[in-house]
Subunit: 269 residues, 2 copies
Amino acid sequence: MIFTSMKNPHIREVLDLKERKERDRQGLFIIEGYRELFRAHLGKVQLKSLYICKEFFLKENEEMLIQEFATKGVVVYLCSPYVFEKISYRDRPDGLIGIALQMHKGIPELEQLLEKKKNHFLLIAEGIEKPGNLGTILRSSDAAGVDGVVICDAATDLFNPNVVRASVGTLFTQPIFETKTEEMLTFLQQKTISVVAATPHAKQEFTEADLTKSVAIVVGSEQYGLSETWMNKCNIQLRIPMLGVADSLNVATATTLLLYEVIRQRRSV
Amino acid sequence: MIFTSMKNPHIREVLDLKERKERDRQGLFIIEGYRELFRAHLGKVQLKSLYICKEFFLKENEEMLIQEFATKGVVVYLCSPYVFEKISYRDRPDGLIGIALQMHKGIPELEQLLEKKKNHFLLIAEGIEKPGNLGTILRSSDAAGVDGVVICDAATDLFNPNVVRASVGTLFTQPIFETKTEEMLTFLQQKTISVVAATPHAKQEFTEADLTKSVAIVVGSEQYGLSETWMNKCNIQLRIPMLGVADSLNVATATTLLLYEVIRQRRSV
């Protein structure tokens, strides 16, 4: 059977999950795209159902991926191109949309993870507002090989379709934790992990400070930057040179600069 | 007189410019926001008219900025909050929208600029598709103090409202040139400026190559990366370490890494 009507209750399910309220209520979210679903599979994300439209396939090995999900009990629904375009978030849909169960981890899971590691390298994102920025930050933290990402006092939900998309599915393959600022600060102090933040007022440039020890890079919201709570508890303050008229970089690009500076320093030690 | 109706022909003018076709045809575009208009003023961008709604002002010195424009002959229109919200692109409008004349520069202007400089530092963006990425790239190139930005074979127009916005107005304060790939390649060869590109296949990491001489960093489109034409003519190939599952960074974050590596190296020489 192929879904051809927008009134089909299973199609309504996908549409409902475009709203955060429904995602929160149901604990579900949407994963669109071959690459994203492939990485969700890699990251052992649990799918509930999969909506496919073969007309849009880009010949990536879709059939094998669908088979992988189907053998795990994921229900597969076929859709007409008309219906699929309507439920898709993309200008160029590639024929695959999944509904998945949200994953939530907190401080206990972070503690467990760090037990196995030395010289910690964490990224903390506080109050990021735009899903695209949060996703891009996750794409960069994956690339930089951080131990884990901690989302504090999130202003956008991690399961917004634009986070999934901008993260190119790296949301599923790296350890991500959600917590509150106060709780996280206590944890970092206990573990003697240095809090590192960029501020225009810092004396040191970001390439001058020593980032080879255990560090947690903290970045704040697009509009207001890092909160005072974090800034006050900061162990290392850094400055990114700003040689033009603007006084700050986009938050995702600034984050990436700091993450890759940690790599550069650790590799050249 | 305050505009209260969406049918007012001056209001229609703003709405029309949301379409690229109309921007191209009229050679005009929209600049929204205090910060953006302030930078447009700094950059001597010529405004045609200014739409204001005092109810939305954030008390930034709006009156002075309006006065500055008015003395230059810019027509100022007052709008009701209802109308202003409708013509605004923003979730939180700040009461200022300008219509400005497009600025276009090419190779002759670039040549002029470089005559006054040594050790050139250019950024070339080829075929960027998303206005947000192009704007973020401009925000970073301003911060990195490049001599100029060259847009080759643009896939989005420089005057898209989201370019203006993501660039936080730095589109107006730095020299930007538009040209075709072939023309630019010839120019770079004449000037013996090294073409630098990132590719996963490069042997050198981006922090290892010498970027202290005259360089043009070239970045390509989100979907396809840099074209073969550019890649083949490249003098220095670099690799950005990718330590996770994804095989590339967002184009704006990758660009920023390369730009700031040039700064780091030149400062430590």
